[in-house]
Amino acid sequence: MSSGAAIAALLRKELLLERRVPQVIPGMALFSVVTYVVFRFGLDRTSVEGSLAAGVLWVTLLFAAMLGANRLYVTDHEEGGFDGFLLAPVDRTTLFVAKALAFGLFLVLVEIVAVPAFAVLLLGPGLGAAEVGRLAAVLALADVGIAVIGTLVGALAIQTRARDLILPLIALPMLVPVIISAAKATAPVLAASGAGGLPGRWIALLCLYDLVFGLLAYAVFDFLLED
């Protein structure tokens, strides 16, 4: 069986499960909105801008992503999905690709709710079409890195008893370069002084991170499924 067909079957199953019993997306979206409300009161400000706005946006999205990554393999682990998959004549890395694609899609759907909520609840400067486009580009690049690391570390954490603790302890340090790059790249877009362009070197760093960790995760994922 081709890897493409296996990935399609696995991705289809992920989306079907989330559609039948929505768990990951509503949880992440609600967490994001509530966190923005908490920031609003915690900072005692009705609006933020620039690097502070970028920091609030990305820290919230990152923690929301940790929630999602924690749930990514729960059904497979508890209901024998891993064994069912391992018995099929397919490459094990297809599971990684399908899970990362599903998680990436979940992140995008959450951001469709969370970013407008951030703009309404906290963001001072308004966003024009150009700024939204630039922000979307940074979000997409950061989502790739977060999805790759969340999928990889999630597979490791699910095999431990303290998965809720293990996942953020390993994934958050690994994602520091993503957060720094994404926040630095986003800050000019969220500045009150007028929208700035995307800083090329931070975008380049995000692309490099996605490439390196994407290949690394693809290479080592097989070993995580060994007994």
Partner: protein, 246 residues
């Protein structure tokens, strides 16, 4: 030329940390025959099935499944094994049809086979209900469908009729019974019932081979003795070869 045995184990050992779950198991099972594994809880029956299914790696000894060495050639036998365990390996929030479609796609087989199997286990009317709305027996019937969906030549069955009433057990008989014509390894706690469908009987105690003989040479009392004062699982690997080729 003699046919390749379906299963050849020589000194197969599997540990969980310090505990030896399977200790130097040696046996051969010819194609189309049925091996029934008896033994008290913790004897190593499920571990044996999981090793044969390529889900666990042997820690010592050799295992050839359908002519392929595992774990080196596990990739070649996956897809030729049907595994039925206490866990149905199905998603509770998906329907029977969705679960079987998922597995059919993974195995690269046509979806027509699903309807054929659902008819065989008399579940078409409930096939679109989520599994969490099913009784345990109904879930087991779907699990049987999953296990034979890809028409595997080797079936590994862990107490396959445990949740089935007599009528349901009769329904799945053509799929997983001797009449299916497949090579089968099944575990059982029922000496008479197990021996009735066995060609070869294996008794495990604490991971070691306590009995290995043709079914005709074993009586239910010998199987019952396996359960008397069952010892705790072995703590360290033994050195004696306890299995024997039948």
């Amino acid at each position: 030329m003699a046919a390749t045995p379906a299963i050849e184990l020589a000194g197969l050992t599997r540990r969980y940390g310090e505990r030896v779950a399977l200790d130097e198991l040696t046996l051969t099972l010819e194609e189309g025959r049925t091996l029934v594994v008896f033994g008290p809880n913790g004897a190593g029956k499920t571990t044996l099935l999981r090793v044969l299914a390529t889900l666990l790696r042997p820690h010592a000894g050799t295992a050839r499944i359908l002519g392929r060495d595992i774990p080196q050639e596990s990739w070649a036998v996956r897809g030729k094994i049907g595994l039925l365990t206490h866990e149905p390996l199905l998603y509770r929030d998906l329907s029977a049809r969705d679960n079987l479609r998922f597995h059919a796609r993974l195995h690269g087989i046509g979806l027509d086979r699903i309807e054929e199997l659902l008819d065989a286990v008399r579940l078409p009317g409930r096939a679109d209900d989520p599994l969490h709305a099913y009784s345990r027996g109904m879930v087991q019937r779907v699990a049987v469908c999953r296990a034979v969906l890809h028409d595997p030549p080797l079936l590994l069955l862990d107490e396959p009729r445990a949740n089935l009433d007599p009528a349901a057990a009769e329904l799945v008989e053509p799929l997983i019974g001797a009449a299916s014509g497949r090579t089968r390894v099944l575990t059982s706690h029922d000496p008479a019932g197990g021996l009735a469908e066995a060609d070869l009987a294996l008794g495990l105690r604490g991971g070691r081979t306590a009995l290995l003989a043709g079914a005709a040479e074993v009586d239910a009392a010998a199987i019952g003795a396996l359960y008397a004062d069952a010892p705790p699982p072995a703590r360290t690997a033994g050195t004696a070869r306890t299995g024997a080729r039948p």
